[in-house]
Point group: C2
Chain length 384, copies 2
């Protein structure tokens, strides 16, 4: 027998309650019964996004919502700013290129976070930009961006702020309205504890003016069609009925735990992993790490792909590899969504066993001990 | 207790085996284990599409695949032909408009089918068209288009043939390669007996040249990215893991029944419904009806929305209303996917009970009798 554990930064482990909600017999999507389900899910999403605006559900992966955030706002030739710094940050640039925008990158070294100074300088140099796209939680490096600080600058300008919070929502606090974010996107298979296939988008009142003026072609991802349909509590095209049912159940679980508690749990789990990594003599990739995933440089000379394969094959623990330039050098442990404290012992203990087998020299057990100490400290209100 | 029956033309009833396959714990999408699942599902789709070409799975509803079929092929200003005749047929025109094409409609009256003569004339008048988009099974009217006959004409020209077979695949025979179709799309929640959220697209070798030359912006639905990823048996963006697992199970069930038998079953069910409708003194909307859904004119003076509501509330039978201009005048019974002969007795018997309650005068029981007779006849090889 081998039990399997999924510590990847999406998909994440899904509660059996959610999976079984998805396994109930299909109902039609143009019915009052399904509208009621969608309405409940949408209320949960509004809580997670921190907004009174509608949050639209798209049948598609997170990238579909990112495309909606660009294609409905930016016209060909529009100047578009984006912050680099990771595989997903760069996706904003690729999208803006695909839609023939005049793309300006704010360069960020992988592992570093966009600074307020960089944003201030970019807004000063490009006051004519249509939008600035940033990434709250960069899944490839585990680096966190201070969305509130960036929004404090953009909201005073005409530059709209689009935020990828695909691995941020449900992990880190997000206050769409209060911070003054203009467009935010997320996905189902991360903090929302649901299988992949759904993505979400919130749009600020001032963004709608840009949407009306936008000449980029779009149909499936047309925000105006979503808004029109949502006024009748439905979607322009057939909704992913079973996934939305699962989502509703997952969001109810989040609500029952309490959103503040959910955020605090993620901070606790991340703290435990960081303490363990340090105790094992390893280094984080990110200078300012996120709470949903921890990217770690492998031990000197060790191919991290080997480590990841061993963890999966021998210990049933799936973690993620480094992406693009980080492939073979980095491993990433996901701890977002349906993850508890005990799960961290599984992840870190198994990591120690595999590291030892591959020849890394360290105080065996030090990782688990450090994690448990960190968890105990935060429980007692002593940790950070 | 009220048991519920879903006789809508998508979503359709989903076998419990499929729902439970979706309810298994999540695995990561970039693993050999998931690639093996996708490969098996893709083999099943190739059988349904009748092609040796790859069939790509898109996380999105059927319209996402339709957009991919336009946005990857047609550039702004390209002349694009489409056949009208229903809500979904018109979607091709809307998509081509959205992508700034020079759109030419081949007008088809709702309920009628596109004729070979119309296609011949359109190809003669517009030999410079990039593509012709048609609808095999028009879900809003229940009208069937002879795709083979249309393809026999387009394949001799430079005009690419795109086919919406969203409610066709798995119901009617489809021979992508043999007929010479260039692009075909379908969805999960129809003949494929899976919840909504996935769509599929097949692309002919000669279409790839158009894809390379196409200047329309696209990213999430970019076919070239799908092709590149599929060469490594993966998807460009996170796949809808649970839905693809369900799909694999559903396609295995179709394979076990035998595709010819599946098509024959749909013909049998459709024949039974048509016989019943006639026996109740009602008329079909479609001149050449499809086998997956039957659209019926309501009795003179009866608001079909009332009928549909009564069927759902009192009898637990969900059928679909008329769309756009047909709203209130038409009802549609879906009989595609996981539907057996006995299900037709439920649908037609309940329809009779509701019709009687609303004052329609007819020989009570005649519908069920006609359906059973038709089923018996075809079983004995006497029917059509």
């Amino acid at each position: 027998m081998k039990k399997n554990y999924l510590f990847t930064p999406g998909p994440t482990m899904v509660p059996q309650e959610v999976l079984l909600a998805e396994a109930t017999p299909l109902i039609h999507h143009r019915t009052a019964a399904f509208s009621a389900i969608m309405e409940e899910a949408a209320r949960g999403l509004k809580m997670l996004f921190g907004t009174e605006q509608d949050v639209y559900m798209i049948t598609g992966s997170g990238t579909a919502a990112m495309e909606a955030a660009v294609a409905n706002v930016c016209s060909p030739g529009d100047k578009v700013l984006f912050a680099g710094g990771g595989k997903f940050a760069e996706r904003w640039g690729e999208l803006a290129h695909a839609f023939r925008c005049n793309v300006v990158e704010i360069p960020v070294e992988w592992g570093k976070s966009l600074t307020v100074e960089q944003v201030r300088a970019a807004l000063k140099a490009h006051p004519d930009a249509r939008a600035l796209y940033i990434t709250q939680s960069e899944t490839s490096t585990g680096a966190l961006t201070d969305v509130q600080a960036v929004a404090a600058l953009t909201r005073k300008t005409n530059v709209l702020l689009g935020v990828d919070s695909i691995t941020g929502i449900g992990v880190h606090p997000f206050r769409f309205d209060e911070w003054g974010v203009d467009i935010a996107v997320s996905g189902s298979q991360k903090g929302c504890m649901t299988p992949p296939g759904l993505s979400f988008i919130a749009v600020s009142p001032r963004t709608w003016k840009a949407v009306e003026a936008c000449t980029s072609p779009r149909y499936y991802l047309d925000l105006t069609a979503m808004k029109k349909s949502w006024s009748k509590t439905t979607t322009p095209f057939t909704a992913a009925i079973s996934l939305i049912r699962g989502l509703r159940t997952a969001l109810k679980m989040i609500q029952e735990e309490g959103l503040d508690q959910v955020h605090a749990r993620h901070a606790r789990l991340a703290g435990a992993v960081r303490a363990a990594v340090k105790a094992l003599g390893l280094r984080l990739v990110a200078e300012h790490p996120v709470n949903g995933v921890t990217a770690v440089w492998g031990p000197e000379g060790m191919d991290t792909e080997k480590l990841i394969k061993l963890l999966a094959s021998k210990y049933g623990v799936t973690i993620a590899e480094g992406q693009d330039d980080l492939k073979g050098k980095v491993f990433r442990i996901g701890h977002m969504g349906y993850v508890g404290e005990a799960d961290m012992l599984v992840a870190i203990g198994s990591l120690e066993r595999a590291l030892k087998e591959l020849g890394h020299r360290f105080d065996f057990g030090a990782g688990v001990r450090a994690a448990m100490t960190a968890l105990g400290d935060t429980e007692n209100g002593e940790g950070s």
